[in-house]
């Protein structure tokens, strides 16, 4: 009986399936896409350090940020930021917390910024970056496939990209995604 009705029920079921599929799709943020570099080594780059940063905290040496600085055997974050970027200010305390409370190494890429303003930004909001490289023309950001800052990448101990988060970090993402991922990469 049911089998005989199947030709009538089946299209309805298919339609319902498509409907559910599209409904779920509506809830997705189209900006959140996985990095095209997933599981691949970070691009080759060599960025000059942010000058006078040592004066800020009195300890950090001003070292260039290079591809080699990402492959230290320890997973870390690479954060693209700029002083002119509002959401970067919003997420900055979360980065500070990750570095201080959870001992996360974070490399900063200062994107198309005025170095003096970048220093003021770090002076006001705190500087917990390991190294800060200056990406003056934004080419390194493009090599990373950055759409717009802030963007944060999780890099494993061999310097391979494992995760990309576009937009500002939220405490939830830091807690539920970033930290467990870093832990699993150790």
């Amino acid at each position: 009986m049911l089998l005989k009705r199947l030709p009538y029920i089946l299209p309805l079921l298919i339609f319902a399936g498509i409907g559910v599929y599209l409904w779920i799709g509506l809830g997705h943020d189209p900006r959140i896409l996985p990095s095209a570099l997933l599981n691949k080594p970070a691009p080759e780059f060599n960025l000059p350090p942010l000058q006078d940063r040592a004066r800020l905290d009195g300890k950090s040496e001003e070292l260039p940020l290079t591809t080699a600085s990402l492959a230290t055997g320890k997973p870390m974050l690479v954060n693209f930021f700029a002083s002119w970027c509002g959401p970067c200010q919003v997420e900055h305390p979360i980065l500070n917390d990750l570095a201080k409370a959870h001992d996360v190494t974070i490399q900063g890429v200062n994107y198309k910024d005025d170095p003096r303003r970048a220093l003021i930004f770090l002076g006001q909001l705190g500087d917990t970056y390991d190294r800060v490289g200056r990406d003056q023309d934004g080419r390194v950001a493009i090599d990373f496939g950055v759409y717009g800052i802030p963007e944060t990448f999780v890099v494993d101990g061999k310097g391979r990209i494992q995760y990309r988060h576009p937009g500002p970090l939220s405490p939830e993402i830091a807690q539920n995604t970033i930290l467990p991922l870093l832990e699993s990469l150790k």
Binding site: A36, G138, I142, D143, F144, V146, Y147, G148
Partner: protein
Amino acid sequence: MRLIMLATLALLSIAPAAQAIAPSEMLSDPVLEGRARELGKELRCPKCQNQSLDDSEAGIAVDLRRIVRERLVAGDSDAQVKDYLTARYGDFVLLEPPVKSTTWILWYGPFAVILLGAIVIWRIAKRNKARLAASGADPDDDDGDGWEITRR
């Protein structure tokens, strides 16, 4: 007066469509610039996702347009330029998705659905004809209005 109006219209008709490309961005070589324009139409601005590179004024679009031109001047083919960008931004930067195993449903799905529908219709028509024949009516008497089943 009419002449002025016609002249204005003629001028407007040859004016290029509004684009975000600044004159300073353009290449002096018209052939390369032409190729850059074609690519700019086929590539997506990653920041403002429903605009092409050429239509967008986002900073990243300006940078990517510059890179497209750099690659062309360096002698890259159009395909190489696209590869350069997809290596960084994924297939997503291509406004037209490539035909590959993960996009077969996208490309061939509609044709499969049409084919399936055609088969269903063909089978129903065949069955109706068989029923008509079984009931003794002349199948060729069918006036094609599809009411044969209920009439019987």
